[in-house]
């Protein structure tokens, strides 16, 4: 039953992908880290734990906030409102790299392909807090 379900999900169409499917690369997360430290860390904390002026970007409350939405929603939030002192200043590539870094810190698995830079395509990837039973 478990293996049958696993086989199914391997062939599943794009819209059923989630953050557990290896949707970014380690390389990309590494590129995102210095951008995060430069652009985001002074408010969100260098360990993503948040501060008085900004919410955490890791942990239970963060994951509950985005659970059931898509990476496109999170990407748009970053793209349209961040960094606070100059929203939209970063390129789509930089935003995607920062998002990859967030995913890696939140222990979602890396994969072979980099994250998309288009919100429409990122909207096909669900943000799910709970690891599916069939995934390792």
């Amino acid at each position: 039953m478990v293996s049958a379900f696993g086989a199914l999900s391997a062939q599943a169409p794009a819209e059923s992908r989630s953050v557990w499917d290896g949707v970014y690369t380690e390389e990309q997360a590494k590129r995102g880290e210095p951008i995060y430290q430069k652009e985001c860390a002074s408010c969100h904390g260098d360990l993503l734990t948040g501060g008085e002026s900004a919410p955490p970007l890791t942990g239970g409350a963060f994951q509950a906030n985005w659970n059931g939405l898509t990476l496109g929603d999170l990407f748009d939030r970053i793209r349209k409102t961040m960094p606070q002192r100059a929203p939209g200043r970063l390129t789509r590539q930089q935003d995607a790299d920062v998002l990859a870094f967030l995913l890696s810190v939140n222990k979602f698995p890396a994969g072979k392909d980099e994250l998309y830079r288009q919100s429409e395509m990122l909207k096909e990837i669900r943000f799910e807090t709970k690891k599916p039973a069939t995934k390792n």
Partner: protein, 486 residues
Amino acid sequence: MVAKDTVIIGAAFREGMTPRSMRNNKGYVRGFDVRTGKRLWIFHTIPKKGEFGYDTWEKGSAEYTGNTGVWTQITVDEQLGLVYLPVESPTSDFYGGHRPGNNLFGETLVCVDLKTGQRKWHFQLVHHPLWDMDISSAPILADITVDGRLIKAVAQPSKQGFLYVFDRVTGKPIWPIPERPVEVGDVPGEWYSPTQPIPTKPPAYSRNGVSIDDLIDFTPLLRERAKEIAEKYHLGSVYTPPTVSKLERPLGTLTLGTASGGTNWPGGSYDPETHVAYLYACNSCIEPIGLVPSPKEISDLNYIAGTAGKEVEILRGPGENAGADSQRPPKKRPRSQWVPLNIDGLPLVKPPYGTITAINLDKGEFVWQVAHGETPDVVRNSDLLQGLTIPRTGQETYNVGTLVTKSLVIAGEAQVTTTADHPRGAMLRAYDKATGKEVGAVYMPGPQSGSPMTYMVHGKQYIVVAVSGGPYSGEYIAYTLPSEGE
């Protein structure tokens, strides 16, 4: 605050955990004529030479120490013509070595005359403040009956979970608030008050210290893992002072009921008919307080908040770095010494994480206390807790308050959850104010911020809630019952 013909204004400062200097502006409170704008009075929250309290700042430290403002709501009794000022901490929040002495009127409830600003009475809640226990919410006016005697009282909620109740004319505590010995620390250059005032009634309504018994205990293994983390810190009861952060331990003092504990800016509610106060409190807002020697290029203080092994950085407050004065953030910092204060996402301390407490002010006793807020997703879905039945835990936040009506206490949740009963969102909950029993809940698309408010339009009652957080941008949502025929 506008009361009768007077506008009263306090002062708000940048976050005081890592100030650049022991010298700062002073948070005086001023009264202005509402018609002419003429200044009527000024109250020196740090006394000037010759004024009462100047000698509580040894070595002339009143001259240069700053902050000590009133950033939260001010309360006025217009009939009595009295103003109640809840004063915050002096510079700096966690190190007071440059301001030896008790430091009046830091963390003091001060009553002044509405017309003249003259001090009528004061009560310092915390001597020589070291824990960021700013008095952070509005003093509550309460006309109560104690042992058959009618008393005009003022009740002050606090981060440290004490509700301080005074006769608001005389400043005399309704129930004794004796000085009790507290731990004296050993941070170089620090000055310590050997005692602090501890109310005898009502009992503390939220945690204000950390002991092993407070740690997570869903399973013995979780308790063991929590102990491993807690053992890196100094633990103790209320007013256990901060330590110097050391790699070999302690990394600092692990505290509850300090910077973001208990009741914060949303404050409490009071029912004038039943004389019951309702207080939301964070019961799990854990704060490690460690001090590190300050690099001279960061600050002229000997010590500021920080953790051993981590580059010292300025901690920022709301709105900072959002304007023309924004600076480049410091370079990348090592993360080797970071100790997460959770266990695979589970809070380090046991529930309840957040509570609402009903306190009878005629008796100084609890009527009821409930965990407020759905159990967080991270707890409900944890693999470590499979098979366990966990009663509702409440939620960790310092950003929500209550509304009391004729029959209900209403408060929303500050965290988003996704449950079998509702999609991703937060609930606005109503409790029977007499018993604390939940009588209903409605769905909100985002978490509550601050306290709900109620109003009437054309005979119809509405409840309005400020909602924002995570993916949800801020907006007000008003709820009402369907009209007949709807």
